[in-house]
Symmetry: C2
Subunit: 324 residues, 2 copies
């Protein structure tokens, strides 16, 4: 059965409502904050950077675990993650007393790995290519329990859908929702919830110009492998849309906006200066895309806040001019 | 009639409920965020740094203006403010089309004065002693309209009380509420609302050790003038509790905690790192005091987020060690 069919089947069986219940003790209902800008569309910020451990992933992680019995998890659970999903899963697993093994790429942020370890997870660091192979094959080679994929997993997508419900309830008049796309699980979940409620908002994906596989897939009509340059925007931007995700993304996404590195930095800076939120690069992309998009009442989903402090201060410092 | 009697009279006349209504279109209901710490009491953060213009003062300012008719405001409105109140009042006055004159001390942050001007306010900068005289006498010498005091004003205190309602509703089990004290209007408002609801939480004031007039007043039994050293904690810490405020503060405050500069910086750092919030020094004092206070379920009121970016980055940088 395809991922899309699995998701549709779970939704038909009440999976959206169940997800709201499942995450209640783990994730918070984040505020939808009015953004005080300088003209442009009316923007509200879905501030997922305020979640425990600083990212929306705690929703997905807690919902995935809720879908399995203690018996199914008796050998523990394993995942592949560059950071945020692993942190969310470590938090949820620790609360339920389930052993967790996280497989991370060697470019993962040390601070995120430290948090996972402090929550009791075992962390294995792999060369990037080996890690990507685990992502694709779901084989860790370590026999460390039930494998949970950070993106292509119905429970992950339904966990993310809880954001869509909250947006629809808090701002029914929103006409556009801008969401950063890494694997595509976040935007798919949000879109499925809003469509399920009959909400008509346009669902706009945003990517960083140095790694924009979704824009490339829409141009080609199918997933293609692209060139990717590394940047401070580390939460999104792979080399290719996952084949399993394409049927969902091609149906649910109305538009893709690509943002430059300078614009992404501007988004991070505006979130800090105008809204007093610390956001990571992907969320800066989202705010920047929202500022430039068509739409009058626009939600920018700020996916997370886990940015390196030195990077944050470099970005904030760029605009600091000495006083006369 | 004393300020305390005026406040009590307004409360008896439904002023608390009226304030909630009056601020609705100006201030947001801020979230009460679980703080993920490292042991200690269970802490939730009342994140007033997320208000438009980054401080709780927008509540007070919008409530004060709501208390006056267009006729009473026909010559405009004036206030004395070092920044946050002036910003909130500029925002509320601009929405109602009322001319505003702000009288600021010469140590006010330039960025705050710029925001007031961008909202249409006229800003007058005075030497600190002249400014303090305006604060004490309410005489601007400029004939610029109805004078609104940033602290000793029933509408200000009742505007702040809306925070107490929200805390009581969102976390009825809270046993301690920690509030930074500058003039004392914030803690008085919160305490009045919570007491009015019959809520039993201990009301704990916090001050910075370099300027702690409330602790000195409690020790002496009445307001006394103290030595004050300037620091990055610019939102609180005067040289003396205002005589008008003392009857309220002496009745409503259960305890005063004094925090060192290093602890205040730690509070700012933890808010940024663990909660992805940018907070000003006074809010760092609050979080730090909450971490060390007696109590099991503690609210730290994070009064605002208007910290100089360079100061923020210095504080964040203090703890950054080069990676091996």
């Amino acid at each position: 059965m395809t991922l899309k069919s699995q998701v549709e089947q779970q939704i038909a069986a009440g999976g959206l409502e169940a997800a709201r219940e499942a995450i209640r003790d783990y994730a918070i209902r984040t505020p939808l904050l009015p953004f005080v800008g300088d003209g442009g569309p009316v923007i509200r910020l879905k501030a997922e950077c305020l979640q425990p451990y600083g990212s929306f992933k705690v929703r997905a992680a807690s919902n995935v675990l809720a879908g399995y019995s203690a018996e199914a998890l008796r050998h523990g659970v394993a995942c592949a993650s560059a950071g945020n999903f692993g942190q969310g899963l470590a938090f949820a697993a620790a609360r339920r007393g389930i052993p967790l093994a996280v497989h991370a790429p060697d470019n993962a942020a040390q601070v995120k790995l430290d948090v996972m370890r402090s929550l009791g997870a075992t962390v294995h660091v792999h060369p990037f290519e080996d890690w990507w192979r685990i992502m694709m094959t779901r084989q860790t080679g370590a026999g460390d329990g039930l494998f949970v994929h950070p993106v292509c997993e119905p429970g992950v997508i339904l966990g993310n859908s809880t954001i869509g419900f909250e947006i629809a309830e808090d701002w029914p008049e929103a006409d556009t929702v801008v969401v950063p796309v890494g694997g595509g699980g976040l935007i798919s979940g949000i879109a499925l919830a809003m469509r399920g409620l009959g909400h008509k908002a346009r669902i706009v994906a945003c990517e960083i110009e140095t790694a924009a596989p979704l824009a490339a897939a829409f141009t080609a009509g199918y997933p293609v492998t692209i060139e990717r340059q590394a940047s401070f925007v580390d939460g999104i931007g792979s080399t290719r849309v996952l084949d399993e995700m394409w049927p969902l993304l091609s149906e649910l996404v109305d538009e893709v906006i690509t943002v430059s590195i300078a614009e992404a930095k501007r988004g991070v800076r505006l979130a800090a200066e105008n809204s007093h939120l610390i956001v990571e690069g992907a969320a800066g992309v989202s705010l920047s895309a929202a500022l430039g998009c068509r739409g009058e009442r626009v939600v920018a989903v700020l996916s997370g806040g886990n940015i390196d402090r030195r990077e944050l201060c470099r970005i904030l410092g760029d605009e600091v001019r000495p006083r006369p």
